[in-house]
């Protein structure tokens, strides 16, 4: 496995990429755990996979097509019914551009 120094700042960086904010205490707790996990996974290094193709699915899959015909779908009202933030028939999201 590619060597990567796993330290608290690296964990915080990956967490940020995952849209998670870890406290310093959490990062400290995760650090030895993640080192142990990645160390165990690195067992795969000793397996020669050079001739193997990846199995993205356990069984080979074929493309599945269906006729492109319109069908009933959720109404706008239903689709919005589970959202807490909505306005004038739209989902209301957080700001994209900061002021």
């Amino acid at each position: 496995m590619q060597k990567q120094k796993i330290d608290e700042s690296f964990i915080l960086k990956v967490a940020k990429n995952s849209r998670l904010k870890l406290s310093e205490a959490e990062a400290k707790k995760f650090l030895p755990q993640m080192r142990e996990i990645l160390e165990a996974f690195s067992k795969l290094d000793s397996l020669d996979v050079s001739k193997a193709k990846p199995s993205f699915q356990p069984l080979p899959l074929k493309n599945v097509f269906r006729k492109d015909v319109p069908k009933e779908s959720l109404s706008q009202e239903q689709a919005l019914s589970l959202a807490r933030h909505k306005k004038e028939g739209y989902f209301k999201g957080p700001k994209v551009v900061s002021e």
Binding site: M1, M34, V49, P54, P94
Partner: protein
Amino acid sequence: MKKIPAIIELQEKFTSGELSVKEHTQKIISEAKNSNKEFHHFNEICWEKALQKAEELDRQLKQKKAKGKLFGIPVSVKDCICVKGVESTAGSAILKGYRPLYNATVIERAEKEGAIIIGKTAQDEFGFGTFSRNVGKGFEIPLNPHDKERSCGGSSGGSAGFTALTELTQVSISESTGGSIACPASFCGVFGFTPTYGRVSRYGLMDYASSLDKIGSMGKNVHDAALLLEAIAGNDEKDSTSLPNPVENYSQFLEKSPKGLKIGVVKEFFGKGIDKKVSETVWKSLKMLESEGAKIEEISLPLNAEYGLSAYYLVAMTEASTNLAKYCGLRYGNALDLNGSFDEYFTKVRTEFFGEEAKRRIILGTFARMSGFREAYYLKAMKARTLLIEEFQKAFKKFDVLANPTMPVIAPKFSEIEKLSPMQNYAMDLCTGPANTAGLPHASIPCGETSKMPVGLMLTADYLKEKELLSASAFAEKVFK
């Protein structure tokens, strides 16, 4: 022990008028409600919906229009499977309050066959665990009905716990990504069946790892679980990974014992890391099968034993990290006040509502697919999976089924689980991980006891050999009784 009628026996009582569907439904709902205060097997009990359906079925009985493989049968459902109008959370606070607008295909099919959905069963958050201890924030941990200090197993812990506890006829729709049906079935002493990947539609399942998730069945006996499986299995245009092969009537093939069943005993799963008493109990049960005509021979699966767990966890975590990216407090599920930018809001919602194990797996999964690491981790695991599948395929040239203990231990006490590191937790999936990574059908059959706790025998078969595997399971069940 009280004799619990099998599905077909209960249905005879309905048709003869000895018992109404409503009476039976009321009994099981009341049992579920009462036991839930103590054992926490349900996240939600949908008693109004259940009684409404029961009344409808009683009307059909009166009009002599009663039909369906699951007519009048109470069915509990793992919380990660969408039931229209019933809170469905996958055990996560991020989905608290979510009432799906549609049914999962398995629910549509089960209800069409006359099933009565009674509630949503407790689980590890999104399936992230082996002991149903990693429940989401604000959820209760389900307790093992044999001993409340012990785990039900995971992640379909509530399903197995209630199936073991109830004194009434009931089956459970459960789900496995890396062993989440077999493990709790083993710990609670019920029959658990995981079909071939793609045999049952995943439409309406809150996915954990899309190339690994399989919906399956649990029951007190093989016949009941087989009936449930044949009701829910089959191709579905809403799930492009569902298999087109026709579904057989599995329950019709269970009476006749398979002649000269060839069982390959996976020797690595009886050695290091397996409790001696568990391994002895399973061996003893295999000897019983041998004395009834099965042919037993040891086989070695060195690649699966050595690399199965690592490949499984890398695939599972990577896929989980992308699947969970959609939970952001916007369209459904839990939300917070809309403050800050996109990034700030999504981060706040996810940080607030995801539990610790979910965070750990999202971070590890994100790492494994980050630029520069994808080749080394994710792709390597996918290639390893090819080699693991090939090793299984070779074994099935010689054997009908492969056998090993389902779990390396009996259901552990919570005080023991607390001492395990996350990696030691993951290592508990040693025997179940490989078959799940390969997408092979497998079953856990109660085969004995040690320290007054149930032990499970795991049988694995080749792709789409559900009929043969259920027949072998029914044979084993008969021998062990």
